[in-house]
Every structure is written in structure tokens, then in C-alpha cells.
Symmetry: D2
Subunit: 286 residues, 4 copies
């Protein structure tokens, strides 16, 4: 999921950056009049020298391409922010399924020595917090006056570089995070088991439906789920105390409550995302 969202945002940025690499040469009022009939030829030569596309018309006050780069930077910050949000939630002391794996001396807390602050997530979340306002500034400056904006144009000068800066910072931190991320699989498993199999209620319900019918199956499982929650009992114990369920499922019940047996199409999804990434990378390197 993280790669899928990030990959798409990154392609958007690449596309927007390429589309915005366009010569702006218009002379005093955008007509190239001072160059006489040689205007287009001069513009063409200048674009070639700068490796920029040649626009159909000077665009000094048509800021869509510049703003689109900003919006794409915002999308990248948002996609990285999603990754950082998830990691920071899983890194909470009470969850502890992952930690950033920072080098010693980074992210520690002097007064609370057991705390390992997810400082890279903080950088990415900070960027995701700031990008929206900066993109809004670029968008709000689009209705620029005549051939040269007054104030709107100038509002881009600090804003677009700042968007690049925070995106770069977020990228650099999240790239490192993915290399150092510590995943505690046993803790993940323990968190799954903590609800005594409740997370797999759907699997049980689906299997039951084959013999009891869908409505009966759902009623049985819902009753068992509520009982487990209300009594603080393990879901599996409640299920085993239900004769109808035991009769219908028998030994299959234990297998149904194994998370590994209920991954659905996850592998197919993961393969598809990785394949897309590889294909696109190959195309880019051509």
C-alpha cells in the first residue's frame, strides 16, 4: 500500500516537472516584438540551448504548470505522510510492532530513557502538515493580472522552493526509515492474538455459511463476538462452547483462526504493485 501510493505520486511529480520545463521568453509584454520576425527562431534556439520545451505562447501570467509542480510535491508529501502516520502508530509504546531503528543518539529521550521517538516520522508528518498550505498559496496566486502579476507572482518565490525543501527532507528521511525499520513480528502476532481470534470472525462466518446459510452463520458469529468482547473471553473459547459451530466446523475451526490462512489476495496485490514499479523503473531508465 505504501509503495503503491508513493510510486504514483512520484510519477506525477516527474510528469509535472517535465511538463513545466518550458521556456518563458516574451519580451516586454509577451509578444517578442523587439526581436521582429526572428522572434520564434530566437525562442526556439534558446529553448534548445536550455533543454526546455518551446511553449505555444509566453506564459508569464499563466501559472498552471508551476502550480502543478507544487501540487505534485504536495501529493508526494501526503503519500510519505501516510507511511509516517502508519509507522508512528505502530511504534507507540503500547503497540510496539515497529521502531525506526535510528542510529544511537537519535530519537532518544533523556528523561524517559525507554522512549525511542520516531523522529523520521516527525519530519515526514511535518512536511505533510506544511505542504497543503504552501500548495494553497500557489493556487490562490493563479489569477494574476494581465501580462505580469502583482503580488501573486511574488508569492511563489519562497513557496515553491520551500515545497521542494520539505519534500526532499521527507523523502530522505523515509528512504532511510525503510532501510532501518525494525519489525517485531512476534509482537505483531501477539497483538493479533490479543483479541483471541476476533480479527478472524469473518473467516469463521464465511466457513459456517456453507452449512448453516449466510444469515444463520452471521448471527452465530456476531453473538459469539459480542460475548467475547463483553466477557473479556477469548473468541475461540466462546466459539468452542457453541455446539452448532463445533458441529459445523469441527477441526477446521483452529485453522480458520490462524491469521496466515486468511490473507486473501494479499500476495497477488503485492506482486502487482512490485511489477508495476519494476516496469516503470525500466521505462524510466531507457
Amino acid at each position: 500500500v505504501w509503495l503503491d501510493g508513493f510510486h504514483r505520486a512520484f510519477l506525477r511529480l516527474e510528469h509535472a516537472a517535465r511538463a513545466a520545463s518550458v521556456l518563458q521568453l516574451g519580451g516586454a509584454v509577451g509578444t517578442l516584438a523587439a526581436l521582429g520576425p526572428r522572434g520564434p527562431r530566437v525562442a526556439g534556439a534558446m529553448a534548445a540551448a536550455l533543454k526546455l520545451s518551446l511553449p505555444d505562447i509566453p506564459w508569464h501570467a499563466s501559472r498552471d504548470r508551476v502550480v502543478d509542480v507544487g501540487a505534485a510535491l504536495g501529493l508526494v508529501c501526503g503519500a510519505l505522510g501516510k507511511l509516517a502516520r502508519d509507522v508512528s502508530l505502530m511504534a507507540q509504546t503500547e503497540v510496539a510492532e515497529v521502531s525506526e531503528g535510528n542510529p544511537p543518539g537519535e530519537g532518544g529521550s533523556s528523561t524517559l530513557p525507554h522512549k525511542q521517538n520516531p523522529v523520521s516520522c516527525a519530519v515526514a508528518l511535518q512536511a505533510a502538515h506544511r505542504a497543503p498550505g504552501l500548495v494553497a498559496t500557489l493556487l490562490s496566486a493563479m489569477p494574476q493580472e494581465h501580462e505580469r502579476g502583482l503580488g501573486g507572482w511574488q508569492a511563489e518565490w519562497e513557496t515553491l522552493p520551500e515545497l521542494f525543501r520539505i519534500t526532499a527532507g521527507s523523502l530522505q528521511r523515509m528512504a532511510r526509515l525503510l532501510e532501518t525499520l525494525q519489525v517485531d513480528a512476534s509482537r505483531m502476532r501477539a497483538d493479533l492474538d490479543a483479541t483471541g481470534g476476533l480479527a478472524l470472525a469473518e473467516a469463521v462466518s464465511m466457513a459456517l455459511a456453507r452449512t448453516l446459510g449466510k444469515a444463520q452463520a452471521h448471527a452465530h458469529v456476531e453473538r459469539a463476538s459480542r460475548k467475547a468482547v463483553d466477557d473479556g473471553a477469548a473468541f475461540v473459547s466462546v466459539l468452542r462452547a457453541d455446539a452448532d459451530i463445533v458441529n459445523a466446523l469441527g477441526a477446521e475451526l483452529d485453522a480458520l483462526l490462524e491469521p496466515e490462512s486468511y490473507l486473501g489476495s494479499s500476495d497477488a496485490f503485492i506482486d502487482a504493485v512490485l511489477a508495476r514499479r519494476e516496469t516503470d523503473e525500466r521505462r524510466r531508465s531507457v
Copy 2:
């Protein structure tokens, strides 16, 4: 310039809308586990039935495609806002080069009967004012939690439709405006003439440079320009009082001060924009 900017923004919107027309079907946690091995086949059939693309992986909490549609709507509002800004500036009582040409009863002022308010521009500028904040909301909601966001997802529910609404309103108004716009060419010409040819100082300077050299030419024209501004005199009169200029340019001077003779590459630019529009329209209608 208006068409160039708008056309590009509109293509962006079309592209973003197509890219976002993607099936979202993931079941309880995004694995399609309840469908067992038939998951991908069911998803494929559902996408086909709904005429949506099939994604590589469920994307409930990867909002980039949705946000990108919002950003593209913002670009359209901004491009239309630029048009509206220009028209409203030209429609000022003191400029009066264009008016919206509204049907009777629309845009009038009861207390100031000579005023014709540019009400369509107000609609488009209002949309351009509101879009940035709405796009920022979508962007800021991207870092959604795990497989289902809490609050961020819900923040899109009112925001995206509102962006569509204000974009549609702006489009409808600006489409009508371009059909009814009254252009007062004689007033435009009078406004150009009001500076006694100062707007063409560059043309004179370029012509002078052929005989006097660039530096001398610029110095002569700058001196004449300042004198015209300071004395409130017509630029042409000041030029004619400068023997060097008269010697160098002779009868050419009058022609140089005709705006029509100093349009540069405007026609080529306009043709290029129109041709692009036509090509793209043809491609879209295929």
C-alpha cells in the same frame, strides 16, 4: 493566453479524472479474503461492469488519485480566475475596454445606474478564492491511518463535491462571458494613445539602434520618455523635438508609433494555441 492556460488545466482535469476512475474493492481489511481465491476475478468483473480500471491493490487509505482530481479542479478554477481577473480589470469604469454584456437586469446597480457589475467575473473569482483552501483540505487529509482513515477520509466528503460545484459554476459563467463579452476597440485604442506612444518606446529604441547604436538609442528614448511623463507631454511631440531622433528616423517615426506595427509574434502565438486546441479536441472526439 486565456485559452492556453485554461486548455492545459482542463486536460489535466480530464487526465486526473480518468486516472481516478479506479475500482476500490478490498473487503473488511483490503485483502478480499472473504472472496477466497476468487478475489481478483470478482474484482475484475466488478470493474468491468462499472467501467472502472482495476487497481494493483486496494487503495482505501491511499488518497492521491482523489486528491489529484481536487488539485486539477483547483487549476481549472485558477485558470478561469485569471481570465476573470483580466476582464474585471478591463471592465473598470476608468478603463472600460470591455464589459460582460450581461442580459438586462443582471449586474445592474439600483443606486449607481451607470455601473454594470461584472457579476460573472465575481463568480469565477469567488471560485478561485475558495478552491485553494478546499484543495489544501484534501492534501492535509492524505496521511490516513492504516487501512481506514479517521477524520481525514471524512474530510473529503463535503470538500470534493464542493470543488466540483464551484468549478462547474465558474465554467458555466466564463463560457457565457466569452459569448457575450463586449469589447470596445476604440476605447482600447484611446487608452493606448493616452500615453502619447510611450507604450511603443521600445520600438523607437530598436529602430534608433540601427543608426545610433544600442546605448545611444536607449539613452535618447529614456530621456524622451521621462520628459514626456514629467511634463505630461505626448511622447511623440518630445521625440519630434529631438533633432538626433528626427534625423535618424525621419518619416519612419510615425509608423513606429502605430501599435498595429509592433505586434511581434502575437499572430504566430495565437495560431499555435488554436492549433493545439483543435488537435487535442480532435483526439478527444475519436
Copy 3:
């Protein structure tokens, strides 16, 4: 902390709303000229009839008071969003220290019956996500033209009511939440104990400092903390295995690791917040 932040934001809103309850009556161009010398008297009577303040000067294009109301609504949404953020974090399945205590049928999940979604928090977080963009719209519309803005003024028409709506929704939900919130004190205690007393490392360090000196005390506690984290051991066991610590603290150690004994000035802070609230409520009811 929640009450402190909310109370202040709410007072800000009250103040801004009162300051914005000001008559706007200026006639065609803001001079009240059509009323002749009676202008101020008419304005005074109208303000009295409407229970509004009389402004020093018509303010049709000076939007600060209106925008300030919007900013105050944003602050209220933000303060409530902080409450919702904290509750939603504590309501996570893996933390489970609180739940919203919604009436039956609200917040449930059909496929995951053990899940109780914090739906009220979702409403407040959605409002906190949306308010910033709406406030930005109001702020960006402030530079309005002459005596009547074109587009900027109109941008307020939908935006300010929407801010009121989402603030009201957030307030209503958070008010109910605080009435129904289920706090699981034993789970809170268990989460505290889960780190084997690490959260109280500071208390131990402070007590040790009295005999070992500050530097020595800190070194001992830091070493013990790291060992506890690295070995997955209970902090208290590691401490008890350190002869220096046992010698210095003796029986006091157990008491030091009781969270109840390390609340600092919490009670004084809470009393101060409640007293402020009461005083302000009394003043408002006068």
C-alpha cells in the same frame, strides 16, 4: 489539558463574535450621503434596534472582524480536534484505555464485530481537518477592492456558514463524548505497568540523586533502563539487581515505582483550570 485549551478557544470565539456584531450601513458608497446630515443618527437608531454596536466607519470592505470570527471557529475546531485525537489514540484496539461509549448501533462494524469505531472522534477530526482551509479562504479574501470586493466578498458566503456548521457538529459530538466516555482504569494501569516501571525512571533518578549525586544517579538509571529495554526485562527487576541502587533506596524503591506517588503538581494544575472555568462561567452568566 483538554478543558484548558477548549475553554480558551471558546472564550476567543465569544469575544470575536461580540466584536463582529457591528452595524454595516453605508449607503451606495459608504458615506451615508443619501441620508444627509441625519446619517449618523439613523445609523445609531438602526444599530440600537438590531442590538449591534455602532462602528466608527462603514466596513463593507474591511473584513477583519468577519475573518476573526472564522479564525476563532478554527481554534475551537482545533482544540476539539486535540481532544478527539487523544481519545482516538487511547481507543485503539491495542491500547483500549477508553472507548466512546456510543449507544448501540452506532460505531459498530458488521464485518469486524469486535471493533467499536470512534465515530464521534471522526466527526471532530474531520472538522479539525476542514477548518484550516476554510479559514485560509476567509483570510485570502481580505484584500477586497475599494468599497466593494469582487469575488473575495462572495467567497465568504458559503465559507463562514460552513465553518459554523462543522464547529457546531464537532461541539455537539465532543459534548456527548465526554458524557459517555468509558475509561478503563485497570487497562491504563496495565499499560503503565507493561514497561515494568520505566515510566517512573525519572522518579528513581531524582531519589537516587540525594545520595549518589545527580550525575551518578542518572548514569545508574539510564544503564538500568537500557538493560530493561534490551533484555525485555522488567525495569524494577533490573533496579533490584543493582546493589548501589538497593543500598541507596532500600524499601523506598517500591513506592517510587508507584505511578500514584509521582503525579507532581497535577492536582494543582487541574484545580487551577477548573477554577478559571468556574470564574469565567460566573462572569458570563452575570
Copy 4:
């Protein structure tokens, strides 16, 4: 109008800055536990030493006071942006009622020597464009986690200083502008006269109403206004050709068409704004 709006925004900023000058001292988790029973006394002494107010409770994750300062900076930028918008509109070549009066070498255009760019307005409008997005960032970061935000807090670090910087720049430029602003009263009068008295149609209508009744008066004036606009004739000539109007008003007509005679309560309004400013300044200097 400019002073009225700015003065209010500036007082808001002063008030918000004072309200935010509050000690933050909470220790590791906001309880001051490490200070034992001396916590409040230490906090009190520290606040006194730093000339800060003592809060009821530590506020590390309650950002309303900080955000409120940002919102007030946004209001100041907006109020100055309104001034800049008006000046830039009046400084247009076709209106030319004011110019910035910049020192030589500032705001000039090399290719268009008669142009004097309103560069100070550009600075203030740029600030007014950027402030809304920055304020939105601060607002969106309010729902911070527990006792220390992750990402939201960090998002303030660059944003608030940037708001101070752009506000300071806008203030400095607008302060200078008001000292150097060149007002061309004769051009203002000419622009008023350009509509042949149409701007005073209301005055004529009011005077006519005394003899013809309100409805008749309005009908006469509206007819004359439309005729003047449609024929491009001077309003005064059309009025003089209407026997009813001449009979009713006689020699009074010319006086009615003098703008100076139709200023309404302007002077009273101006006096009230200046008096308010003076009173507040006196109070501040105490």
C-alpha cells in the same frame, strides 16, 4: 477605511501576542513531578524572571495561543493587503490617481520607461497571498498527540517565524508607502467628471424626490442615466434637457452635481476613526 481596518488588526495582534506570552514548563510529561512540591513555586519564579504569565496548566500540546498569534498576523497581512490592493488599482496607468512615490531607481521598468511599478504594493499583496496558507498550517497542526505532538508541533517551527517575517516586510513597505504616496487630486476629479456626473445620480434623485415624490424622482433619474450611458452623453446635459427636472431643481442642479457637496457623513467617520486611534495610542503608551 484603511486605518480603521489596520488599527483593529494591529490591536488583535498585540492582544494575541500578550496572551501567548505564557510560561511553558512541565517537565517530562507536564506534571512538574521532578520538582516535587516545589513545582508551582519554581514555575512562578521562572515566569517572573522571563516576564511571562503563569499558565493554569502546562500547554505543550495545546497550541491555541500560538495559533492565535499566527491568525492575528494573518489579519494584519490581510488589512495591509486591502490597502495595497486599493493603491495598486488607483496606480494603474489608465487610472493614475496615485503613485507610490518610490525613490529613483525603484520600481522602474527598463523596457517601458513610463511605467512605475507599485513595488511596495507587490510586497504587501505577496504577504497577503502567503499568510492564509501559513495560518492554515498552524491551525491544521492543532490536534497534537497526547503531551507532545509528532509532526504537528514541528510544522510550526518554520511557519510562525515566516508569518512574522512577511508581516514585518508588509508593515515596513506600507508604512513607507503612506509617507511617499503621490495623490493626483486633479486626476481623481477628472475621473469623477468622466461620467458627466453619473456618480451623483443619487444626489439628484434625492433632491427631486422632495417635489416629484420618490418613485417619480427615481424613474426620471434612471431614464436620464441610461440615456447618458447609451448615448455616451454627459449626464448633466441629459438632465438639463428634461423639463421636469429643470423645473423642479432649477439652479440647484449644478450644486447637486458637485462631488464636494455629496460627501455625506465622511468627515464624521474619519474623525471617529482618528479619535479611536488616538485614544488607543494614549492607552498603549501609559
